[in-house]
């Protein structure tokens, strides 16, 4: 009962934070510097790890698909499998997981520290809402940066698959055949679906991590606990939301 109460309390807090932040949307143009800073943190610095991870997801997909499909002569469809898997599912989900691990944890740690060391209280005293200058720029930045990260993740993943398809002996299909199958079966609509999904994931991850950070109470030990909780809740929400968003988008 206590746990259910905690969950409901968390949901309520997140929704309140969302509406509070959205109520300051008009102030966003005046927060350009903060917005750019968050874009840099969320997008630019996350790019290398997203690219590396996506490349290897593409290669593993092509390897597994080639191994499974060589028995019934359907290796020509590896491109379509990698293309659709990356665009619709693995690209958005793995990027959101990386975002939760790298950006979400950083947001939670930063806001939890500010809360624990009473910086948030100081801002409130100065009538500067945390939702306005700490949450809103992050939400806006994640909405702008996620599509960029996703399209890079997709392209790098597709490229990784083509490298495996070309150079692994038991797969052995030409990049032309790989990309022809990919283009034949993967439509821009699939990429758009993936981007919509990623927007939802990114928005929820940042919002939840902000909320957990802002609601941290106690001392420095609670900062670590808040970071752990932020990442875990984000991961769970990503996977749970993945099902429902996919169901809606199909």
């Amino acid at each position: 009962m206590k746990q259910i109460n905690a969950i409901l309390e968390g949901v309520g807090s997140v929704v309140q934070l969302l509406f509070r932040s959205l109520s300051y949307t008009g102030s966003l143009p005046r927060q350009g510097a903060r917005f750019i800073e968050q874009c840099y943190m969320i997008g630019y610095t996350t790019l290398p790890i997203v690219a590396i991870l996506s490349f290897f997801i593409g290669t593993v997909l092509a390897l597994e698909a080639g191994y499974a499909m060589q028995d019934f002569g359907a290796k020509e469809f590896i491109g379509s499998l990698v293309g659709l898997s990356m665009a619709r599912e693995l690209g958005p989900m793995m990027t959101a997981v990386l975002l939760a691990g790298r950006v979400g944890s950083a947001i939670t740690a930063e806001l939890a520290s500010m809360k624990v060391y009473q910086e948030i209280d100081a801002l409130t005293t100065m009538n500067i809402p945390a939702a306005k200058i700490l949450v809103l720029p992050r939400l806006a930045a994640v909405l702008v940066m996620m599509p960029v990260l996703i399209v890079i993740a997709n392209i790098v993943g597709w490229f990784g698959g083509s490298v495996v398809a070309r150079y692994v002996s038991y797969v052995g299909i030409s990049p032309q055949a790989y990309f022809a199958a990919l283009r034949h079966y993967t439509k821009f609509k699939d990429v758009m679906n993936g981007m919509e999904k990623a927007e939802v994931f990114g928005f929820v991850v940042v919002l939840v991590c902000c909320d957990i950070g802002l609601n941290t109470r106690g001392g420095p030990r609670e900062i670590g606990a808040a970071v752990t909780r932020g990442v875990v809740v984000s991961l769970i929400l990503i996977l749970v939301l993945d099902y429902f968003v996919t169901k809606i988008l199909l």
Partner: protein, 331 residues
């Protein structure tokens, strides 16, 4: 890092992302960054099967365009095809929907049409033909399976019977064998006896099988027959040569058969013979009278007797009185 640098990097990153989104859109939409000018053909079908937007249009297996749109038009389905304008489609070319593989994927195949036929203009309707799809084939195979099952059922019924009087072939055979088992036994015993005799060399067949002398004789007879056959062959060849000569009108027989004059002469000769034989039959002329008049025969017999007597007298009286005797005997 100062704010300006940070802003520039974020701006660059964002622009890169937008550019990549655009490239992805163009690549996955029609495969080209800048859309090429195409011309459109309408293909009407009873059923578009699994055809969908973006599927290939191929001519002789080469991609020449793609399906832009599929739609219902009245009581038929239409596929709007975008064709590369550099590829002329003949006005009598026929479009069909073809499966690209068993696990799905269709494309529109357009044949070459006749040589010299004019090209279809932009927006024209192309002729189409329907092809059986996998479902139709499966349905036909199902029908075939049912027919096979029925046939096997009939065969099985014929073999095993349908439970009614008489039974099937096997029951009838069984009845035949059981009813005639004593005769079959007797026949088998006879066969055994016959084979035993043959084995022991008894009878003609036994000797033929067991006696090498008989075998040699038979072999010699066969050799003789073969020699005779060779001679017969030679004879036939000769006869053919003669026939050839006859056919070519050479020799008396050839002349007789193929020479018109000879035939006419023969006819005339036969007519003369017939006239002579008629006269003979009627007793006309000397020979006819000789044949038909018994008086002439009698006179001849008397004359011969007289000559005989005269000759006897000659042998007795000598040559001096021979003329007188002959005269007396005759007159």
């Amino acid at each position: 890092m100062n704010t300006t640098q940070q802003t520039a990097r974020v701006g660059l990153f964002f622009l890169l992302g937008v550019a990549l989104v655009w490239v992805t859109f163009e690549t996955l939409s029609d495969g080209k960054i800048f859309a090429e000018r195409t011309h459109t053909l309408i293909a009407g079908f009873d059923d578009l099967k699994e055809l969908k937007n973006g599927d290939d249009v191929r001519q002789a297996g080469v991609k020449v365009g793609s399906v832009q749109l599929t739609r219902l038009a009245g009581r038929r389905a239409e596929a709007v095809l975008q064709i590369d304008p550099k590829v002329p489609i003949a006005s009598d070319a026929v479009a069909t929907i073809v499966m690209s593989g068993l696990i799905g994927g269709n494309y529109v195949a357009i044949d070459m049409g006749s040589n010299g036929a004019p090209s279809l203009p932009d927006g024209a309707e192309i002729r189409t033909a329907s092809t059986p799809d996998l479902n139709t084939l499966m349905s036909e195979i199902g029908g075939l399976g049912k027919q096979l099952q029925d046939s096997l059922g009939s065969f099985s019924k014929a073999i095993n019977g349908d439970g009614k009087a008489g039974g099937g072939i096997i029951q009838k055979l069984d009845k035949l064998v059981s009813d005639n088992s004593s005769r079959v036994d007797a026949t088998m015993a006879n066969l055994q006896e016959i084979t035993g005799k043959i084995n022991r060399g008894e009878g003609t067949l036994g000797k033929l099988v067991n006696d090498p002398k008989l075998h040699d004789e038979l072999l010699a007879a066969v050799t003789d027959i073969r020699s005779t056959a060779a001679q017969a062959k030679e004879f036939v060849a000769n006869a053919e040569g003669i026939m050839d000569q006859v056919k070519s009108g050479q020799g008396p027989l050839g002349t007789l058969v193929y020479d018109q004059k000879s035939a006419d002469d023969l006819k005339a000769s036969i007519a003369n013979i017939r006239a002579v034989s008629d006269k003979l039959a009627k007793g006309e002329g000397t020979l006819g009278k000789l044949i038909n008049d018994p008086g002439l025969y009698n006179s001849a017999q008397v004359t011969i007797k007289k000559v005989d007597r005269t000759l006897d007298g000659l042998s007795d009286s000598g040559p001096i009185t021979a003329v007188g005797i002959v005269v007396n005997a005759l007159f």
